[in-house]
């Protein structure tokens, strides 16, 4: 899932400038699940904005609307009708959602309310950890299901570096486990250490140019 968190209110206010009225568009997808941009958080943001403008003797006309997902056209019928009533949309989706909305309403300023952080999972309620950098060439099958690209601070493929601490944490932060310490431990327990004893050659990075995926059955349809 994509994890995000809200930007500081001042930054959102600054982006808005004189734009008024404003629609805060919530997203029912990932950012809703990570408690950053669902219906509740969209309404909270609208309330915070109203209060902030009020405190400064101004007035912001702001409404909220939350759709199931902001990254697919199927959910935009209502917004297509509403969008024309506003000078700006503040989206609480991830960076992809914001761009989808911006592309759909190219004449309207579409502003991000969130900073999109990473692809990760729930460690516990309200606690998320980064686990995937979407590198496009997954090595998890050989690294005990632990991603060295994401979880090693130096993205080493033949780790560990010389900085692993005595308790198995990473040199950059005593709260972060060393990915290679963990990979070694898990593969040793599985009796599969041979997977990481050979030299892994330099990789061909896949995530340097914008990527597109078209599933096989649809290729004909798109002429790709």
């Amino acid at each position: 899932m994509i994890i995000a968190h809200r930007k500081p209110l001042e930054e959102i206010v600054e982006m808005l400038g004189q734009l008024n009225p404003v629609l805060v568009l919530g997203c029912g997808g990932c950012t809703s699940i990570c408690l950053a941009g669902g219906q509740r958080e969209a309404e909270q943001l609208a309330a915070d904005l109203r209060e902030d403008y009020g405190n400064r003797g101004g007035q912001l006309e702001v409404n909220t609307y939350t759709i199931e997902r902001q990254c697919n056209a199927d959910f935009f019928a209502d917004i297509d009708r509403l969008a024309g009533d506003y000078q700006a949309i503040v989206s609480t989706a991830c960076g992809a959602g914001v761009q989808f909305v911006a592309e759909r309403y190219p004449r309207l300023p579409v502003l991000p309310a969130l900073n999109t952080d990473f692809v990760g999972f729930d460690k516990d309620v309200g606690w998320y950890e980064e686990n995937c950098r979407t590198c496009g060439d997954c090595v998890l099958g050989e690294t005990g299901g632990i991603c060295p690209v994401t979880r090693c601070a130096k993205s080493l493929f033949n780790g560990p570096c010389g900085g692993t601490r005595a308790d198995g944490t990473c040199e950059v932060d005593p709260d972060i486990p060393c990915a290679w310490f963990e990979i070694h431990k898990r593969l040793r327990e599985q009796g599969r250490l041979e997977l990481i004893t050979r030299v892994r050659p330099a990789r061909e990075w896949q995530n340097q140019i914008r990527r597109t995926v078209i599933q096989e059955p649809y290729r004909e349809r798109y002429g790709k």
Partner: protein, 323 residues
């Protein structure tokens, strides 16, 4: 003597001499005199000198440029390169340029994380890792090919070094990692500073057993303590460093006369060097006298490592002839 690089360090090691390398940290500025001053202390005292590459992720004069300066002084540089600051294009370009200017040794490192340095929010490159860098340099030298597989017009002949930390966890993995570096193409290894001799003995014993010390020259890392504060800092604040309590006690015991602790630090280092000379599998020492270059002549003398050998085929530390 047949060498891969035509350099002095390689010739000294292949001739079976106990080698010594030093270290010189480039200045935080364009202060050429500072480089020449440090180099003067090291001249004729070491077989090659490591030139660090933005060490601890702090910007300094570049490693290749400082290497060229010490060549002018008649020292042979060991050009350090980290994976943090450049991608495979920049690395290969720098390796060609370095060789063209007479650099014959390289130490291939991952590099300290940028978080520790003076630009903590820079983008770490880490396009390839240190083992992949070793393999790349070997390919350039032995196959005459770039990483891409394209041919190189006049391949660089480099004596390839790598680092090893016998003390970082997981201990049992450290020998495997050494083996990986050897398999990738490392000709010599310089270890992290050693203080825990017992643990190092276990490590070198394993390296001997695995037959690794027959394939690679291992230079044991030595850093003399300048002060009690430094020893404590190394013990408590440097990840992957292992400083036993008895050494701290020994330094504490030396308190008293001015300079007594530093003298004791040097004495400890010299005793270590003696032990390394007798240790099977150790081909030399790497003396990292950090910001203490002016003490190197004394330490090397006291350790009985002078004069440095002149080896036929090597260049006695003089700049390698261009070809």
């Amino acid at each position: 003597m047949e060498t891969k690089s035509g350099g002095n360090l390689e010739a000294v090691l292949r001739a079976g001499h106990f080698a010594i390398t030093g270290e010189l940290g480039p200045p935080r500025g364009a202060n050429v005199e500072a480089v020449h001053k440090k180099a003067a202390y090291l001249k004729d005292k070491v077989d090659a000198v490591n030139i660090t590459d933005n060490q601890t992720a702090v910007v300094r004069m570049s490693s290749w440029a400082t290497s060229l300066l010490v060549i002018q002084d008649g020292l042979e540089p060991n050009y350090q390169m980290v994976c943090r600051d450049r991608n495979r294009l920049a690395m290969q370009a720098d390796i060609l340029g370095a060789y063209a200017h007479g650099i014959r040794n390289m130490l291939c490192l991952s590099g300290d994380h940028q978080k520790f340095g003076d630009h903590p929010h820079s983008k770490g490159v880490f396009d390839i890792d240190s083992i992949q860098l070793i393999a790349m340099v070997r390919r350039m030298r032995d196959e005459g090919k770039f990483l891409s597989g394209e041919d190189i017009d006049t391949p660089p002949r480099i004596f390839i070094g790598a680092a090893a930390n016998p003390f970082a966890e997981p201990f049992e993995w450290r020998i495997t990692r050494l083996a990986k570096k050897v398999a990738a193409g490392a000709d010599f290894i310089q270890t992290q500073c050693i203080y825990n001799m017992e643990k190092f003995r276990r490590w070198i014993h394993l390296a001997n057993e695995e037959g690794l010390t027959e394939k690679v020259f291992i230079l044991a890392g030595v850093t003399p303590f300048k002060s009690l504060g430094m020893a404590k800092y190394m013990k408590n604040s440097v990840p992957g460093m292992d400083v036993p309590d008895h050494l701290i006690k020994r330094l504490q015991g030396a308190k008293g006369k001015k300079g007594a602790i530093a003298a004791e630090g040097i004495k400890i280092a010299c005793e270590q060097i003696q032990e390394f000379r007798e240790m099977k599998g150790v081909a030399g020492v790497h003396l990292m006298a950090i910001e203490w270059e002016h003490k190197v002549p004394q330490i090397v003398e006291q350790a009985g490592l002078l004069p440095r050998p002149r080896v036929d085929g090597g260049n006695g530390g003089a700049p390698a002839a261009g070809e």
